[in-house]
């Protein structure tokens, strides 16, 4: 006979005497469950069962559930076990637990996998593209409305955003672009000097920084720094029904929240691109001077020859488009945040990933475009 701490089973002929002992509470639930299952498995077909629970010092929902399971395991085989020695309070608890256990349970929440997941992802991507298009339309129409009635433009809000995404981003942008300018120049000198072509480093740094890297680095930086902030802000405003509050007061959230943010970004990004490009040229020039023995005046005169205004213009033309893309994606993702904290996180991630992806794709398209118009 298995003798254990919580249950003892005495078998006399064909009848069973089960006795409970000790604490039938949550801490001992795992052990009790094992014993209950074992007792039921060991004696599948007794003629008569008596469960004596006078030895139990305490019982909670866990104990009551397992007692119910023990009783059920025999009663489903056609025997009705007698339960004795249960105090009135635990009787109520047992009754309460029995009420819940018999009810039909809902199916597990459906989780997509395999082919279904692929299909749904494809559909979701399609819907994403449509949503972006729809949102672009909504923003443009809000912009037109603002243009027709300039007094409704939220100038204060735009300036506040400009401060956050523009001015406060200056130090980190300066540092990053300066360092990248240094690194490009150093690598260029290192490899070009073996051909004796050190001086062409200046051309490389100039073209690369002004045409591509300045705008690209600043865009990626702002997508991470400000795009994520936009998404999180708008998302939490949606979760707390602030958007709905605006709407019922007769304001269009796109006009109040989205337009100033996007305009701030469109103003800030070209300015930051300019500052960043200058910092990168400074970094490149310094490395050329210190590491490559190209004196500053030589660097500058070579730069004048290598670069025409075109290179600079190409970089600057791209900047507002990048800004608009980042702003649109970030605000759209913010507006799509659902009810849960998880969705806020997922949308913020999506916002940054999509914005960076789109910025790089657009940079590629711009490269083709400018090449075909010989710029």
């Amino acid at each position: 006979m298995p003798q254990s701490a919580l249950i003892s089973v005495q078998s006399q002929g064909n009848s069973l005497a089960v006795a409970g002992h000790g604490l039938w509470t949550s801490e001992h639930a795992a052990a009790l469950e094992a014993e209950v299952d074992e007792a039921a498995a060991r004696h599948p077909q007794p003629a008569d069962v008596n469960i004596d629970l006078s030895g139990i010092s305490r019982m909670d929902t866990f104990g009551a559930l397992l007692l119910d399971r023990l009783v059920r395991s025999w009663s489903s085989a056609g025997i009705t076990p007698r339960v004795t020695g249960l105090s009135e309070r635990y009787e109520v608890l047992l009754h309460e637990v029995e009420r819940g256990i018999g009810k039909p349970r809902p199916p597990e929440r459906h989780r997509e996998k395999g082919l279904e997941l692929v299909g749904r992802q494809v559909m979701a991507t399609g819907r994403d593209a449509l949503a972006l298009l729809n949102f672009v339309g909504a923003v443009v129409s809000a912009l037109l409305r603002v243009l027709m009635r300039p007094r409704t433009f939220r100038f204060t809000s735009m300036v506040a955003q400009l401060d956050r995404v523009g001015l406060r981003a200056v130090p980190i942008i300066l540092l990053m672009t300066f360092l990248i300018g240094c690194i490009i120049a150093q690598q260029g000198i290192f490899h070009f000097s073996s051909f004796g072509a050190d001086i062409y480093v200046v051309d490389m740094v100039g073209v690369l920084v002004l045409r591509e890297l300045g705008v690209l680095i600043v865009s990626i930086m702002l997508a991470g720094r400000s795009g994520s902030a936009y998404t999180a802000e708008l998302g939490s405003m949606r979760m707390r029904e602030e958007m709905d509050a605006l709407r019922v007061m007769g304001f269009d959230p796109i006009e109040v929240l989205v337009v100033p943010r996007i305009i701030a970004l469109v103003i800030a990004l070209p300015l930051l691109t300019f500052i960043g490009s200058m910092a990168a040229l400074l970094g490149g020039g310094l490395v050329c001077w210190i590491y490559g023995d190209i004196a500053p005046d030589v660097f500058i005169s070579r730069l004048k020859m290598a670069i025409d205004l075109n290179q600079f213009e190409v970089g600057m033309y791209k900047a507002p488009f990048m800004a608009a893309t980042i702003g649109l994606v970030a605000c759209l993702e913010g507006m799509r945040v659902g009810g849960s904290a998880e969705s806020l996180g997922a949308r913020t991630t999506a916002s940054v990933v999509k914005a960076i992806f789109l910025v790089i794709v657009m940079d590629g398209l711009f490269a083709i475009f400018f090449a075909s118009i010989n710029m």
């Binding site: 559930l65 637990v97 009420r99």
Partner: protein, 272 residues
């Protein structure tokens, strides 16, 4: 300082009852603002204590201080006779299993279904089979009066009343001995609030709970609370039964229990 308990006979009658939470000389403040000023409070086993006080008066601060969510400047909180400051991490975690908290907004984990929410403390504290955890979850869902199909829903798919009930089910997951309720009936319609009061009463009796309930709901105070403590100026200004509160002379208590809303409750009760 004064009027800590209303009459000496009452306090002597209580002496045989076990004190599960003993708060002594608690001081809590933010900056130079003192919220709780040498506050004393006892909570006895098996009672439902209603805790009232003006908005912003520090009711939630006391709850959060007892739970250890806010630091106190001085004073002692004893739970089950153990000083919370003397416990190491393991003892503290064991103690925390013996209380459950229903936050005002439910505080359900928004990325988990109701069933997963209820099973979360079980999964962390106990090693149980999935079958038993499912049984527990559905038993608790039934206990708080929800339908079984709520189990697979996310909190964002539930109504306010359902969120409260689901959160109550989660706070009961480990069969705690003490239940903290922070304004359990706020945001519920009167019928829903009445049902919730009833539910708390039933659960308290079935599970043998001790309930500490911060509330503003005069109906709750009348119908479910065994004892009421009132907070004023950072101290407990009065404690006793609802009748004691009605008879109290403190101006704030008179305003609270004899204001127009209080009268409406009484009239309703008298007529019913």
């Amino acid at each position: 300082m004064d009027a800590q308990s209303l009459s000496p006979t009452q306090s002597s009658a209580r002496q045989d009852r076990e004190v599960v939470i003993r708060v002594r000389d608690i001081v809590v403040g933010f900056g130079d603002k003192i919220i709780l000023d040498h506050l004393n409070l006892d909570i006895f086993r098996g009672e439902i204590l209603g805790f009232v006080g003006a908005s912003g008066g520090g009711k939630s601060v006391l709850t959060r201080t007892i739970l250890g969510l806010l630091p106190k400047r001085s004073g002692v909180v004893e739970v089950f006779g153990q000083n919370l400051d003397d416990l190491n991490e393991l003892q503290r975690s064991a103690l925390e299993r013996r209380w459950g908290v229903l936050f005002q907004q439910g505080a359900l984990f928004s990325s988990l279904t109701v069933k997963q929410n209820i099973q979360f403390p079980l999964r962390e504290h106990l090693r149980l089979s999935q079958r038993l955890m499912d049984d527990i979850a559905f038993a608790k869902i039934e206990m708080v009066g929800l339908k079984p199909d709520v189990a697979e829903k996310l909190p964002s798919e539930l109504s306010g009343g359902m969120i409260k009930r689901a959160a109550l089910a989660r706070s009961l997951a480990l069969d705690p001995e003490i239940l903290f309720l922070d304004e359990p009936t706020s945001g519920l319609d009167p019928i829903g609030a009445g049902e919730f009061d009833e539910l708390i009463r039933t659960l308290q009796q079935t599970l043998g709970l001790t309930v500490f309930m911060v509330t503003h709901d005069l109906d709750s105070l009348h119908s479910v609370c065994d004892r009421i403590a009132a907070l004023g100026d950072g101290k407990v200004i009065a404690q006793g039964t609802i009748e004691d509160m009605m008879a109290a002379q403190h101006p704030w208590l008179r305003a609270y229990f004899h204001g127009s809303r209080a009268r409406a409750v009484q009239v309703g009760r008298g007529a019913g």
